[in-house]
């Protein structure tokens, strides 16, 4: 997280831009293999350089972190907001609203989402890819949060303190947002935290499959995808973004897990 925010700073410090080519750091005769062992790790390029272009891996990884995290956080925000509101309404209101929202969730969860997301992204008009990724991830992500919120809201709706509020003359809105929602912040926070790594991985997966953000903006998924052919010749190039991704996802999972245990 820090790394993402500090991306401009880190690149300023190392003096490397994520898009600048460094032909001197690679050997064209060997297909552009970085010069030197361990993927061309040197004082100048602490995590080595990208084969074939010589771009600085550290700079790309930190800029990629910025993008990956931004997209997944926004997607989480979007999915959580939609999921919470619709889940609350469905779980609390029941009846007709529950049926419509429930069906919608069923529908979205029946989509082979990865295939569909890829297909959608591949036909989507050329616009702001980042926003589109957020929208698509959010669209297919909210039912999972919505379902949990709905269940919790349903359980809470049967609790006597909700009845008590009604007897006191509280409006439906007041009950939903003053009485029920505060009791859901815990689970919502946990689910949201646990869904972030999913979005990071999915974003990376989409970029990995070539329908993510546009070059030259680096993203982890893209870096890993372009490292795939090199995994035998230059494993470091593949491992660096891979490990960053793994560690980040793991970190969010651990935090979410700990939050879940706290409750």
């Amino acid at each position: 997280m820090l790394m993402a925010l500090g991306a401009p700073l880190i690149t300023a410090l190392t003096g490397q831009s994520p898009t600048e080519f460094h032909p001197e750091a690679i050997d064209p005769a060997l297909g552009g293999l970085p010069k030197g062992p361990w993927g061309g790790i040197s004082a100048e390029h602490p995590l080595g350089v990208e084969p074939a272009t010589g771009r600085d891996v550290l700079a790309r990884v930190v800029w990629g972190a910025r993008l990956s995290l931004l997209i997944s956080l926004l997607a989480t925000l979007l999915a959580t907001t939609i999921g919470t509101v619709l889940g609350l309404v469905a779980g609390f209101q029941g009846g007709w609203a529950d049926m419509v929202i429930g069906r919608l969730m069923d529908l979205l969860m029946s989509f082979p989402s990865l295939i569909f997301m890829i297909a959608l992204m591949s036909v989507a008009p050329d616009g702001n890819r980042e926003l589109m990724l957020v929208a698509v991830l959010g669209l297919f992500g909210w039912p999972y949060i919505g379902r949990i919120v709905r269940g919790q809201a349903m359980a809470l709706a049967g609790r006597e303190f909700v009845e008590a509020a009604r007897v006191l003359g509280a409006t439906r809105r007041a009950i939903l947002f003053r009485e029920v929602l505060p009791n859901l912040t815990g689970p919502i926070l946990v689910v949201a935290t646990l869904s972030i790594p999913g979005y990071i991985a999915t974003e990376a997966g989409l970029s990995f499959l070539g329908v993510g953000v546009r070059p030259p903006t680096p993203s982890w998924g893209q870096m890993i995808a372009s490292a795939v052919p090199w995994y035998a010749a230059d494993p470091v190039y593949f491992l660096v973004p891979g490990l960053f991704l793994l560690v980040t996802v793991l970190a969010f999972n651990v935090v979410g897990d700990a939050l879940g245990d706290l409750r």
């Binding site: 609790r159 008590a164 007897v167 006191l168 003359g169 505060p182």
Partner: protein, 343 residues
């Protein structure tokens, strides 16, 4: 003076759904034509076994559930079909205390917030010191206002629930098993408190319990429910002295008395069979399947609540009380009938 609450022929029916298919497989009649009146300043008790519709009746009276049929008049106004907005001012006078002291308090709110909620939801503001006064009234200390519900014992939590119900000085408080979840000693405190408050605030109660002892302690009049209907209603002492309905008699006989000599000397009244399902009630008199006096007529004709002695009404074709036309010890003669299969 008009009664404070008049409920006429209340009916509540729930659709029953198959757990998997969600298809409506039938209807469950939780409340089946209940009529009650609560006079100003009195406490009406509602007793009966689990599932007989006590809570459902309470929820109908407080308009937490929509009645399937019947009317409710409160303080001279028909509130049966009032919308939420018009109902809101009425709610100030019509409050409720719940069974589970913890479940009825929002675990995320401090006592302060819980006790100011009645004001807030009515568009009012508590006066300074009012909340502390409320706490004091129910036997808690002002510094408790900062705490969260889980930091209290069950009895204390129930006191908070009571304070909340009383915050706006209601006229009627519906208490749905307010002491069932509590230990005897705590139960006694709460029962005492309710009585004290009644005097102080000129309250009327509808007091629901399955424990006849507790009901007897606080109620002036008692209605006995069975399978969604009121089978007997009378003044407290009359009911305990001269139960007219065989069910009431069985209920009284089944209450264990904490005195070995008395308890062991009492003949045991053991009703046979189980409570029928409200989804599939027996024809005619709902109690006839377990009734030691049941006759042919009971299966054909549903008895209506008829007044025998003044103020004592019973729904039975063959009531027990002599003053109501039959021998008093009828229950003893007919029962005990051992449970089927038992030696």
């Amino acid at each position: 003076m008009t009664p404070l609450l008049e409920a006429e022929g209340l009916v509540k029916r729930f659709p029953m759904r198959h757990p998997l298919t969600r298809r409506v497989t039938g209807h469950l009649t939780a409340v089946d034509g209940v009529s009650l009146t609560v006079r100003r300043g009195e406490t009406l008790g509602l007793v009966g076994e689990s599932g007989c519709g006590k809570s459902s009746t309470a929820r109908l009276i407080t308009r937490l559930a929509e009645p399937t049929g019947g009317t409710i008049r409160f303080d001279g106004r028909d509130i049966t079909t009032m919308g939420e907005a018009t109902l809101r001012p009425v709610r100030r006078d019509l409050q409720m205390i719940f069974q589970d002291p913890f479940s009825s308090l929002n675990p995320r709110m401090t006592v302060e917030a819980i006790l100011s909620a009645p004001f807030r939801y009515q568009g009012l503001k508590p006066e300074p010191g009012q909340i502390a006064e409320l706490l004091r009234r129910v036997g808690l200390r002002p510094e408790h206002a900062e705490r969260l519900p889980h930091q209290f014992s069950g009895g204390q939590a129930q006191r908070i629930g009571i304070a909340r119900a009383l915050a706006l000085h209601p006229k009627l408080v519906v208490c749905d098993e307010p002491v069932s979840a509590l230990d005897v000693s705590v139960q006694a405190q709460i029962l005492n408190l309710l009585r004290d408050l009644q005097e102080e605030f000129e309250l009327s109660y509808v007091f629901i319990a399955h424990d006849l002892g507790a009901v007897r302690q606080v109620c002036g009049r008692i209605a006995v429910m069975y399978l969604g209907t009121v089978v007997e209603i009378a003044d407290r002492d009359e009911l305990f002295a001269h139960p007219a309905h065989p069910y009431t008699a069985a209920l009284l006989a089944a209450v264990p008395i904490p005195d070995p000599r008395i308890e062991r000397a009492r003949p045991r009244v053991v009703l046979s069979g189980d409570l029928p399902s409200p989804a599939n009630p027996p024809s005619g008199c709902p109690f006839r399947t377990r009734c030691p006096r049941a006759a042919e007529r009971c299966a054909l004709e549903r008895p209506t609540l008829a007044e025998g002695a003044p103020g004592h009404r019973v729904a039975c074709h063959f009531p027990l009380d002599t003053s109501l036309g039959l021998s008093r010890d009828g229950a003893r003669r007919a029962g005990p009938r051992p449970a089927k299969g038992a030696p």
